[in-house]
């Protein structure tokens, strides 16, 4: 257990085991495991906090600046919590031609994501929904394309958005029940 681990009681055995397994895939240099560990941390905690950066740096015998540098380089790695349901709409040419900007506006309106927290990044008041633009998602033949968390959605229409939102609201109700 390194110093940061002692402060993080919620790091379960399974988490640390998974991290060790990932590190074992890079026998030549542990540093290669930095991005995979950032993914792992983000999957568990929703975003990478400074503690996350510290933990990963210690785990891989790196200076924390080395991990911070890559955490800020890759847009998929979030350093702030962003919506429980994150809509990521492609804005690049083929999807824009197919109407992705209109889809973006529709989602923004439907989810009431009014707080602008970054360039083209909006979060709802209750923090449940967020919508942002991302670059080409490599499914241009089925434009417009978007991602909802880790799921890809193609040929997106307003009808599909309505259906997704209904489903999410029903799920939320089921959770609360």
């Amino acid at each position: 257990m390194n110093a940061t681990e002692k402060d993080l009681p919620q790091l379960e055995e399974s988490f640390i085991e998974e991290a060790e397994r990932i590190i074992s895939q890079y026998p030549v240099s542990k540093r290669s495991a930095s991005l995979p560990l950032l993914h792992l941390w983000q999957r568990h905690f929703g975003f990478v906090s400074p503690q996350g950066v510290q933990w990963i740096a210690e785990k891989l015998d790196l200076e924390p600046i080395a991990v911070e540098e890559i955490a800020t380089f890759y847009p998929m790695i979030r350093q702030r919590p962003l919506g429980h349901y994150q809509f990521k709409v492609c804005r690049t040419l083929s999807c824009a031609l197919a109407g992705s900007y209109e889809i973006f506006e529709y989602i923004k309106k439907s989810c009431k994501t009014v707080n602008e927290v970054g360039h083209h990044v909006y979060v709802s008041e209750d923090g449940k929904f967020s919508v942002e633009f991302v670059e080409c998602l490599a499914a241009c033949g089925n434009a417009p394309v978007m991602m909802l968390n880790e799921e890809e959605w193609m040929d997106v229409t307003q009808t599909k958005i309505d259906a997704i939102l209904n489903h999410l609201i029903r799920e939320k109700r089921k959770e609360e029940f």
């Binding site: 290669s32 991005l35 991602m147």
Partner: protein, 456 residues
């Protein structure tokens, strides 16, 4: 009647009942070519690839056999690595996704054969972070392959050992550049390396010889070993061998991916017959032939294409866009490139300046920021286009856009410099009149001459 596809790589991709598990792959003759390859000396495989004339399918079209030949296996004492570039991020391209999501074992078999040929014992598949499902599919497929001894120690009793792991990216287009990919895999910011001296075949991953190949290229290797290089070279045309997967998106009725031998189909046939023509009965205006980095082609222009005659001499033929066959060299002869095969179609209702603005924002966003021209220039061009599209255009802006683009191309560390300047150069040159229309006669923002001008 639309020309029939030649589905070499995508043979089973959309076959009803075809699944991604290994048993399905094996029942369709999977991993037989691997058996054949392991019985051949590695250099013979490299020779077959050279004879086949296979060119990289990632966008640069560099002959794969030549790339593999860069490593001197006699003198080399360092470990060799094989990296599969599955960071498909070129706008307009969506072919590698089909292979990964629908026929992953083909990629794995191609990788094992390629790794064996290059004496690599450790390989990574660098897959873009957004392909979360794809990474899962690949991990499972690799586990299955390991289980059946197609991967790991002493593969199929040949004594050859190889391990392949999946590395997920996290949303950076620059990781598709081979040295950017290597830097990212080493756990650093994906800053491409200066070449010389950091050629991947000499100083690649962990400063060891490394081969970086596109997903589709590695799949082609399997077919080359299966049918032999000479037989493969008969598909397509001289110097443009094999099949290519063309991805069509934009203003066509049936966007999608279509596999044809090089040179077997023209733009017109592909767009009008296979893709059902332009949507809403509109007219074709512009086509970007090879992903957004390629120069745009104007539909109503004639292109001077050199054609080899029977007697060996070359003549220049004027062709319209519709008649240009889809391959590497002919498309390159138009001044553009076939790149990654991502064809983006724009019809007459589209504002070319807005299209360019969309593309420019992509490059400004994706620039890694390492070298001066690209870092500053890409954002400058985006800001200029924003201003032009929102009513602030001035008559001198077209010229300024061109000059900025000219100062980036050729002056950067990696090809991203060309990638972000070619769209600007080509759109402004091809559709100059649309830019001019957006630029008012009177300047609202003047360029000021300094009081003392440096003399000559």
């Amino acid at each position: 009647m639309a020309k029939a596809e030649y589905r070499l790589i995508l043979k089973h991709a959309d076959e009803p009942g075809y699944t991604v598990d290994i048993d399905c792959y094996l029942s369709h003759g999977g991993y037989q070519v691997l058996k054949k390859a392991l019985a051949m000396p590695p250099d013979q495989i490299i020779q077959e690839v050279k004879i086949s004339g296979l060119r990289g399918r990632g966008g640069a079209g560099f002959p794969t056999g030549v790339k593999w030949g860069f490593i001197n296996h006699e003198k080399n004492t360092k470990p060799v690595y094989l990296l599969c570039n599955a960071d498909e991020s070129e706008p307009g391209t969506f072919k590698d996704r089909q292979i990964i999501y629908k026929d992953p074992h083909q990629l794995i078999e191609g990788m094992v054969i390629s790794a064996y040929a290059n004496r690599a014992h450790l390989a990574y598949i660098y897959i873009r972070g957004e392909f979360a499902k794809g990474a899962e599919i690949l991990e499972k497929a690799l586990a299955e392959a390991r289980e059946r001894n197609f991967l790991g120690k002493n593969i199929l009793g040949s004594g050859y050992e190889l391990e392949i792991y999946v590395f997920r990216g996290a949303g950076a287009y620059i990781c598709g550049e081979e040295t950017g990919l290597i830097e990212s895999l080493e756990g650093k910011r994906a800053y491409p390396r200066i070449k010389p001296p950091y050629f991947p075949a000499v100083l690649g991953l962990y400063m060891c010889p490394t081969i970086v190949n596109n997903v589709e290229t590695l799949c082609h290797v399997k077919h080359i070993v299966e049918m032999g290089g000479a037989e493969y070279a008969r598909i397509g045309t001289p110097n443009n061998t094999g099949t290519r997967i063309w991805c069509v998106s934009g203003d066509v009725n049936k966007p999608g991916y279509y596999e044809y031998p090089c040179g077997a189909i023209t733009f017109g046939e592909l767009l009008y017959e296979v893709c059902g023509g332009i949507r809403n009965g509109n007219k074709l205006k512009a086509v970007i032939p090879g992903g957004s980095s390629a120069k745009v082609l104007r539909a109503d222009k004639k292109y001077k294409i050199p054609k080899k005659k029977e007697d060996g001499s070359t003549e220049i033929v004027e062709m319209g866009l519709e008649d240009i066959p889809l391959d590497f060299d002919t498309v390159a002869a138009t001044g553009s490139m076939s790149g990654s095969g991502g064809i983006i179609v724009m019809d007459h209702t589209r504002d070319m300046v807005e299209c360019l603005r969309n593309i420019a924002e992509f490059y400004a966003h994706e620039s890694c920021g390492q070298c001066t021209p690209c870092r500053e220039g890409s954002l400058w061009m985006k800001k200029m286009l924003d201003r032009i599209c929102t009513g602030g255009g001035r008559p001198e802006d077209s010229k300024l856009l061109l000059e900025v683009a000219n100062h980036i191309a050729g002056r950067t560390i990696c090809a991203f410099g060309e990638a972000c300047s070619w769209p600007v150069q080509s759109f402004v040159e091809m559709f100059g009149e649309e830019f001019e229309a957006k630029q008012r006669k009177e300047s609202s923002l003047e360029i000021l001459e300094p009081l003392t001008n440096r003399t000559a």
